[in-house]
């Protein structure tokens, strides 16, 4: 999604001279055009993420809207206090962009993975966490972030094509069945696996959620769950503080009863071995085959 992001940012910075783009010394083969088109508003803040976020808060205080870009773990965990204090409690328009959320950086290893990022950031005040699930979500989410002018975290993942042609929404229904047997809520790059696992099924509803914290269960999702009474959640993030926990709370608050509930989520590194994004998905049971198996069992 990095190139989709770069393309969209290139458009918006030319339309709005109050946008500044800051990178933590990353963006090779993706951000060169942006750097050339707005040299005065493109800042390489170096390998110094904490200063990058504090400095961005200073820029935002003076009226700028500031995108800060790095690899997801570096721009979340490393500078969590700067995000909380300098940005969030002051409600400043600093938009934190983490590339490669989840196991996105695969064989690069645990240092480059972000599987607790949404838990960390979505618990902070005044911030929205945005997770584009399919490619079309990327420009939609960037427009939302700019419209809202408040702290935001944008977690970019790998490209996922939408075969259903549905328009992007915060909570989007990708697939609708007349009589859903199971309702799936998916988030992040694993949406690709969900789409593939349900290719030949006509009795599955698929929803994606592109924003946390989850504030409400929309009516179409509620109807689907009430019909199917079986819910499967799939996310490339640990259970705690992620989509599964968010949805569980809303189900309880709204007294929505289920016959069966299953959550598939990132398990971390249970075997302490490393591999590609697909490898880690498989170890956590987020792969297509396991999703199919779970669907059969439900």
């Amino acid at each position: 999604m990095r190139n989709l992001f770069s393309k969209k940012i290139q458009e918006v910075v030319l339309q709005d001279e109050k946008i500044i783009f800051v990178t933590g010394d990353l963006g090779y083969n993706a951000l060169e055009n942006l750097r050339n088109s707005i040299p005065d508003r493109f800042i390489n803040a170096g390998v110094a993420e904490q200063n990058m976020i504090g400095m961005a808060a200073g820029l935002a205080y003076k009226g700028f809207k500031v995108f800060c870009y790095s690899i997801a773990p570096f721009i979340t965990y490393r500078c969590l206090e700067q995000i909380r204090l300098d940005v969030c409690i002051h409600k400043l328009p600093v938009f934190i962009v983490g590339n490669g959320g989840g196991y996105g950086y695969g064989i690069m290893g645990a240092t480059h993975h972000a599987i607790e990022d949404l838990a960390c950031l979505s618990s902070l005040p005044n911030i929205d966490c945005w997770i584009p699930n399919i490619d079309d979500d990327v420009p939609f989410v960037i427009d939302e972030i700019l419209k809202n002018k408040k702290p935001a975290y944008l977690r970019l993942g790998k490209n996922v094509k939408n075969p259903f042609g549905t328009p992007p929404e915060i909570i989007s229904q990708l697939k609708k069945s007349p009589q859903p047997r199971v309702t799936i809520i998916s988030q992040g790059a694993v949406t690709q696996n969900v789409i593939e696992a349900t290719e030949n099924s006509s009795d599955i509803d698929i929803f994606t959620v592109s924003k946390l914290p989850l504030l409400e269960i929309p009516i179409n999702l509620k109807q689907s769950i009430l019909q199917s009474k079986k819910l499967l959640i799939v996310e490339e993030h640990v259970f705690r503080g992620g989509l599964s926990e968010n949805v569980s709370l809303k189900l309880l608050e709204n007294n929505i009863q289920l016959d069966k509930f299953k959550a598939l989520y990132a398990l971390g590194y249970p075997n302490e071995l490393y591999g590609s994004q697909s490898y880690h998905q498989k170890i956590s049971g987020l792969d297509k085959e396991n999703i199919l198996k779970v669907l059969t069992e439900l």
Partner: protein, 262 residues
């Protein structure tokens, strides 16, 4: 206008009174930097410029300065440290124009100030940004990140003031990590360095005016040699008075001492 010594006595008295009423600590921290605040925030900062108190534990010095400037009333000063106040022990967010950021976790002010200075460069205005730090704060990694950022971005509109009282939270500057507020180091990294006495308002003002009179693409640092607890003999240069509140006797002695200084 009052003379500098009159302002200094007046604000030190208010600082002591606020801490005594609240039975709170960080007294010596405020007494250490109040003269820097008088010179910069009260006397030199213009309407459109920002002053960032990075050593947020000296919030009382900031509150009495804003009281002097008319932004915080005498009545509101009485709410310091009480439930439901806007005047917490470290400055809180989004409440006063001249408290643009809530600070208190050390090492946050310099990056923010560098961002403001960078914004002023992009906006092509002539405003400066002031940031007042403790010397202990120069231990922080963010200080070193922001120093290099400020030099690389040629932020000669950034005025860093270091309250160099040489007393940290649990030891003396030299004994903790060494002198991370060493002027040689700041100069080597690329700052224009000024060393001044930290309690001479006229000297600090002159330094700021000199800084503002020329551009040289170098961020500026005023390393102000201060005395922690300045004005109260039993507090000066001690670690204890970073934390302790005063009893009645100590309070009376402190008031007497700050009001008998020239």
């Amino acid at each position: 206008m009052q003379s500098y010594p009159e302002i200094q006595r007046n604000l030190r008295t208010k600082i002591l009174t606020m801490y005594k009423r609240a039975n709170a600590g960080h007294i010596a921290c405020s007494l250490s930097c109040i003269d820097l605040m008088i010179a910069s925030l009260i006397l030199e900062k213009t309407e459109d410029e920002q002053f960032i108190l990075s050593k947020g534990h000296a919030a009382v010095a900031l509150y009495v300065s804003l009281n002097y400037l008319g932004e915080i009333s005498d009545e509101e000063l009485l709410t310091f440290y009480t439930d439901g106040t806007r005047l917490s022990a470290h400055p809180s967010a989004n409440k006063f124009k001249n408290i643009p950021f809530a600070l208190g976790s050390l090492g946050h002010g310099l990056p923010i100030a560098a961002g403001i200075a960078k914004a002023n460069k992009i906006l092509k205005n002539n405003d400066f940004c002031y940031v007042l730090m403790s010397d202990g704060e120069t231990n922080e990694g963010t200080t070193w990140e922001a120093m290099h950022f400020a030099v690389k971005n040629q932020l000669d509109n950034l005025i860093v003031m270091i309250d160099k009282n040489r007393v940290q939270g649990f030891g003396y500057l030299q004994d903790v990590l060494g002198d991370t507020a060493n002027p040689k180091v700041w100069k080597e990294i690329g700052f224009e360095v000024h060393e001044t006495g930290g309690h001479d308002v006229a000297q600090i003002r002159n330094t700021i005016q000199h800084i503002k009179s020329h551009q040289n693409k170098k961020p500026r640092v005023i390393i102000a040699n201060t005395i922690k607890g300045k004005g109260v003999s039993y507090m000066e240069n001690t670690i204890d008075w970073h934390y302790l509140p005063m009893n009645d006797e100590q309070y009376q002695l402190a008031l007497k001492e700050v009001n008998h200084q020239k």
